[in-house]
Symmetry: C2
Subunit: 301 residues, 2 copies
């Protein structure tokens, strides 16, 4: 395909992607039947900026701060306390599924959103999208989506892959902007999921999480539940993506090594970088493999 991956520099990462997709779609030992062509991508740090915190945390922290203003008795409890004290370490422990962190987080999520209709929730997410800006880059988070990854979606779709996003973040949060931001239907978004109850002709959020956190082994579990398959192509950037990447035939790992255009860090990704070396995954250097990082890098529109 001419012009595919135009924001990717010629080099081993781009070539590995093009070669894999070519071999998956032509007769031969690498051929993948169309029915099996599932691609799955992490979101935070893989499709958009996750520093200083994953964008959904920004959304959620604002909500919790409002709740503390309405009910100061919450201020001494987690996770409200960690928000007030900007205790990043508390939230980093969520990625390791520390039960001391996960339990109060899930309780607080439930408290924030239980009883709400999807339309009410969507309106709050849209208000956040319109107003919140990433502190270093000064733009709304949905503008901080990596253009090369959207081009990769296009290339995969043009080759009859069905593209899914599979994030530890909230499924229903991502579904609000999935269509306009990623060009993916809501049913192609997999994430940590709230339970919903259908009552009096309406869908209402119950506050419970169903099916467990979509992190670590939860990622292939959630992908299998949604699609009936494990992915053929997977992309991620962190230790919580290792199982999803291992479960795929082709694994792409984004390395955040571009302090000038984005961020440089390996925190939360040391294990996945080691696995990539061990298993021969394709590592993408944001600095060296991408000519452009953001679609609007020349400034806000």
């Amino acid at each position: 395909m001419t012009g595919a991956l135009s924001s990717w520099k010629d080099g081993p990462a781009k070539q590995a992607i093009l070669d894999f997709v070519a071999s998956a779609t032509r007769a031969g030992p690498g051929f993948v039947p169309v029915t099996d062509r599932i691609a799955a991508f992490d979101n935070d740090g893989t499709l958009w900026v996750e520093q200083p915190v994953p964008p959904q945390f920004d959304f959620q922290f604002r909500k919790w701060a409002e709740e503390v203003r309405d009910d100061p008795s919450l201020a001494g409890r987690q996770p409200y306390k960690a928000v007030a004290e900007e205790d990043a370490a508390f939230f980093e422990r969520a990625a390791t599924q520390d039960p001391q962190v996960v339990a109060p987080l899930l309780e607080a999520f439930a408290r924030s959103w239980a009883g709400m209709t999807p339309e009410e929730f969507e309106a709050q997410v849209r208000a956040w999208i319109a107003t919140a800006k990433q502190p270093k880059l000064g733009r709304p988070y949905v503008q901080l989506v990596y253009l090369p990854m959207l081009e990769l979606f296009d290339h995969l779709k043009a080759n009859d892959f069905r593209v899914f996003v599979c994030s530890g973040g909230g499924r229903d949060f991502m579904r609000v902007f999935a269509e306009e931001t990623w060009g993916l239907h809501r049913e192609n978004v997999i994430g940590t999921a709230s339970a919903f109850s259908y009552r009096d002709g309406r869908i209402i959020r119950t506050g419970d999480v169903v099916g467990g956190l979509d992190l670590g082994p939860g990622k292939p579990e959630h992908i299998f539940a949604q699609t009936g398959r494990l992915p053929v192509f997977a992309g991620g950037n962190a230790d919580v993506d290792v199982e999803m990447l291992e479960s795929a035939t082709f694994a792409l790992l984004i390395d955040h090594d571009d302090p000038q255009r984005e961020f440089a860090y390996t925190k939360g990704a040391v294990k996945s970088l080691a696995k990539a070396a061990e298993l021969g995954w394709t590592v993408v250097s944001m600095k060296n493999d991408w000519t452009t990082v953001f679609a609007d890098q020349d400034g806000p529109p």
Copy 2:
């Protein structure tokens, strides 16, 4: 579209479908944005024969009979006892979600399939498809799919609807044959769902049911969970479909009134037929609205 719904007789049901799809796809008050075009269909009795029992019961009963042969101590317990005694009333109570029936059924499902890989389960479903025959019609169940409904899928897909099957039956059971029988990808199949665990690089069925039974209010709940939307178009045939049909803009109810070509019964559908009259749903008479019922009605291929 010329030639759409060619096994449907000209009449009010066919006209209502054509009119609704036409209005959904052209500018005007009935227009439905492409992103919202979700169609959802029950399976048993809506897409294939469900008499004398839903086909998955035939599959499951054979499995339970094998288990009783291996462990005769099971014979006095439910649901094994009901299988041995051909106690249809016991299984009909499942449709009303009677906990006295649902609990032992779910326990037995778990016992049958826990610890199994999807590949092992799929092989057992395929063996059943190849050998089991519907007793009255003498053909494998997957040949007893209603041709007019497959034509309806084609018409909806040609008009940019995404078609989903949403059944009280097992999601993973249906996914085995969804692609070849319905022309739908596995991710378009929604049903009562087993939990899966990812261990040592493999997906394993845990035996638990996650997200509740996909019946009654569970149907719109499951559709919302899978797609992030309620359906615009829905088709069903039974009381357990009422909530799904109510949640849609256009509702189609299949009436089994054709004893010659299929079966005639209103059992399990009395409430839904009353709702159809009350709410103006489109009722399909299998006898009068369909020129052809099965793709292979002239006999086994």
